[in-house]
């Protein structure tokens, strides 16, 4: 560790940070209201929870479409291309190396903001879990006008996916503490600037996938 220089890198643009925190707030609000609708607790009252849940859900749906559009036209979608290269190094790091003072095998760069494990997780979340949640949520919302559709299977999937998202949130929040200081990742997501090890060269594994033309 000693002898290596640290440098500040502007990793997350204003839009990305704005999007991240808006989405975080919306997801958390959706969880709070959603689990009240599910009957786990009483907080704001069933009808208020339903109305808020519906409103935020629809708002999120619209804004998510805009974010997907932004990903496509900026080419930032490439950040989410899954790879197995260094995947097992990263997994081994979190299972072993982190307890033994080793360095993270993949340093963040503006060209590769996410390590292979993050890529897999975020792709799974945004390409699988969130769309499932949006589609079932929309069906849930519209089921009266669809005719002949039963609510039970929709509710089944929507609730199951919600629990999985809580899971993601717990692990995601914990992982923010695994930077080289407890809050360095959170700071990066607030200011956009993150302190990383100086990597003067783009590493070999990321060149093909994330090369900007």
């Amino acid at each position: 560790m000693a002898g290596k220089t640290m440098t500040n890198v502007y990793l997350y643009t204003r839009f990305e940070r704005l999007w991240h925190w808006c989405q975080a707030l919306m997801v958390i609000f959706l969880m709070i209201t959603g689990f009240e609708v599910h009957g786990l607790y009483t907080l704001m009252g069933f009808d208020t929870a339903v109305e808020l849940h519906n409103f935020i859900g629809l708002f999120w749906l619209g804004s998510f479409a805009f974010f997907a559009f932004w990903l496509i036209i900026t080419g930032e979608w490439k950040q989410y291309i899954p790879t197995t290269r260094k995947l097992f190094d990263v997994a081994r790091y979190y299972a072993w190396g982190i307890f033994h003072g080793q360095d993270h095998p993949v340093q963040k760069t503006p060209g590769a903001k996410h390590n292979p494990l993050q890529r897999l997780a975020y792709l799974g979340i945004s390409a699988m879990l969130l769309p499932v949640q949006m589609v079932t949520g929309l069906l849930y919302y519209l089921y009266n006008s669809l005719g002949g559709v039963s609510l039970a299977p929709i509710a089944f999937i929507h609730t199951l996916a919600a629990f999985l998202l809580v899971n993601f949130l717990i692990i995601h929040l914990y992982m923010t503490t695994t930077g080289h200081s407890l809050f360095s990742h959170i700071k990066g997501m607030i200011t956009g600037w993150e302190e990383i090890r100086d990597t003067s060269k783009i590493q070999e594994w990321e060149t093909k996938a994330t090369r900007k033309t």
Binding site: M1, N8, Y10, R14, R17, L18, W21, C22, L25, V37, H38, G39, T42, G45, F46, D47, V50, E51, F55, F59, Y94, G97, I98, F99, H100, G101, Q102, N144, S150, L151, A152, A155, F156, T159, L160, A162, F163, L164, V166, N167, I170, I171, Y174, T177, T178, I190, T191, G192, W193
Partner: protein, 545 residues
């Protein structure tokens, strides 16, 4: 560093701007709620349009009709006078259930109705009208014989015709000047009553329907004398300080057939609005309020495909007068000092009567809810029963898959009534009259005589069986602000709809497997990150200071 803090400030600013924007998107909704409250929901608008001021175009002043200016000496004479203009009225009326008290049943050989094979768990049977106690409500001058008494429904004032005609018969033809004067007064009284004609008013209908089962509020729970002059809290439609509807505003009539009867056939074969057809033969709330009565795009409008309006808008029934909730015939016949007696309960109503048995009364009763398509299943005097189970003498029909069925509120009156142990059928004891149970206190004899009136055999052995009888709750509609909250049904515990099956209700229902998997996953994640964190803490992330 300066750049960093600037950037942080900018991000915070942007976040704030976005949330203000989001809030502004929310606020129009809040504002539109406030506006809509002033503007009125579509349903209310439609309802007002359908029932806008009832300008009744009366073209007859009955006091100017010559034939009504005579000295009537009998009820039949009065009816003949009515029929001289309203030529077909009596003929029409005699075809309706109000006169026959019979309706065909879907079961062969069985007629429904009080005068048919229907039984209930109150006075059990009308014994084909042999039970004279039952026929005081019959709209004829001489019980079920002779002419229709038009004035029972169309007389503005309640007049003691029977007694007056008896007095007339006694005094008429006497020369005594005092008696002549009395006879004149009697004739005048009759004439005034006969000329004081009206469309049926709440009191006309209520005279029988408020007192079904032999007393105020005994049967229905949503129809009692408190509805003669209800305030807005009791009934928004009938309140004198509200819409002030008479019964006939909703229960429309074609040739004296009155809409809204609820025996075996669906109350509404089609969910037609009064705006489409003001003479729809069956009346529902939707007739005026449409199928989307609430403010546009509110969740309540989505409920009308499964939930009857009554379920939310009649939170409790019997809100002013108590109603009878149970009747146990098995205790009838006890004597004190060799004489029949009665005991009063907390609500000022009899809880025991030697002639009838034990009662329970209640006020502000929370209804029970069932799927209901407008039809009832009735157990008649000829139907077999299973005495091991509670016999549902009258029970709503419907299922979640039936597109006409809605979740509807009911009063369930529970009873314990005699049945034939050998034939496994309910029985119809004769109650009133010199040979009836109320005189003889001999149940076995009363059953024998009662069953004879209906030509139903009786084995001679009886016992008592528990029964229920369901009444749809549809009157006593509370103002909108008193309707149920979502949480009364959408809750895990004590949901009003706990017994309703076949649908998934958010808040009430869950899949045990989803919640179990979810809980395990969440606890697993928490345990995992806790252990991982502890590991990092104790190894100082592997660093040696």
């Amino acid at each position: 560093m300066k750049q960093t803090s600037q950037s942080a400030a900018a991000t915070l600013l942007w976040t704030a701007v976005l949330f203000v924007a989001a809030l502004m998107l929310v606020r129009p909704c809040a504002a539109s709620v406030a506006n809509a409250a002033q503007q009125e929901a579509l349903g209310i608008k439609l309802a007002k349009q359908a029932v806008r001021e009832d300008k009744h175009w009366t073209t007859v002043d009955h006091s100017k009709i010559e034939i009504l200016n005579q000295d009537f000496t009998s009820g039949d004479q009065i009816t003949q006078a009515c029929l001289s203009c309203h030529t077909d009225a009596s003929m029409q009326f005699k075809e309706t259930i109000h006169w026959t008290w019979k309706v065909p049943s879907e079961k062969e050989g069985i007629m429904n109705g009080k005068a048919g094979h229907a039984v209930n768990n109150f006075c059990i049977s009308g014994n084909a009208m042999e039970d004279k106690g039952c026929v005081s409500c019959h709209a004829g001058w001489n019980d079920i014989q002779g002419e229709v008494n038009c004035l029972a429904c169309h007389g503005k004032e309640k007049f003691p015709f029977k007694e007056t005609f008896a007095d007339l018969a006694a005094f008429e033809g006497d020369d005594d000047p005092d008696l002549v004067e009395i006879v004149d007064d009697l004739h005048n009284g009759i004439q005034q009553a006969v000329q004081n004609i009206t469309l049926p008013r709440r009191n006309n209908c209520g005279e029988c329907h408020f007192k079904g089962g032999g007393g105020d509020g005994v049967k229905h729970g949503d129809l009692d004398t408190s509805l003669a002059r209800p305030n807005r809290m009791l009934d928004v439609h009938m309140a004198e300080d509200g819409a002030d509807f008479a019964c006939t505003r909703c229960h429309t009539t074609v040739k004296h057939h009155i809409a809204g009867r609820l025996y075996t056939r669906p109350a509404a074969a089609e969910r037609k609005s009064l705006i489409e057809d003001d003479m729809a033969s069956k009346i529902t709330c939707e007739s005026c309020h449409s199928a989307t009565p609430h403010k546009a795009s509110t969740k309540m409008n989505d409920h009308t495909d499964k939930v009857a309006c009554q379920s939310c808008h009649i939170p409790e029934f019997a809100r002013v007068n108590p109603t009878k909730m149970s009747w146990d015939w098995s205790t009838a016949g006890k004597m004190k000092d060799g004489k029949p007696y009665e005991e009063k309960g907390d609500l000022g109503k009899a809880v025991y009567k030697s002639i009838k048995g034990t009662f329970a009364w209640a006020k502000n009763v929370v209804p029970q809810y069932y799927w209901y398509n407008g039809s009832f299943d009735n157990i008649g005097i000829k139907d077999k029963i299973d005495p091991q189970q509670i016999v549902e003498v009258s029970h709503p029909l419907g299922s979640p898959n039936d597109p006409d069925a809605r979740i509807h509120p009911f009063k369930i009156h529970s009873g314990k009534q005699p049945y034939d142990k050998i034939n496994q059928q309910l029985v119809a004891p004769l109650l009133s009259g010199p040979k009836g149970f109320w005189t003889t206190f001999d149940m076995n004899d009363a059953i024998m005589r009662g069953n004879q009136t209906l030509d139903v055999p009786y084995s001679g052995e009886f016992d008592y069986v528990e029964t229920t009888y369901a009444f749809p709750i549809t009157h006593m509609v509370a103002p909108a602000e008193k309707s149920l909250d979502c949480i009364q049904c959408h809750t895990r515990d004590n949901s009003r709809l706990a017994g309703i099956t076949g649908i998934y209700m958010p808040g009430r229902d869950k899949f045990a497997i989803v919640d179990t998997i979810g809980l395990i996953a969440v606890l697993g994640a928490l345990a995992g990150v806790t252990l991982h964190g502890l590991g990092r803490f104790f190894t100082r992330n592997g660093r040696e200071e």
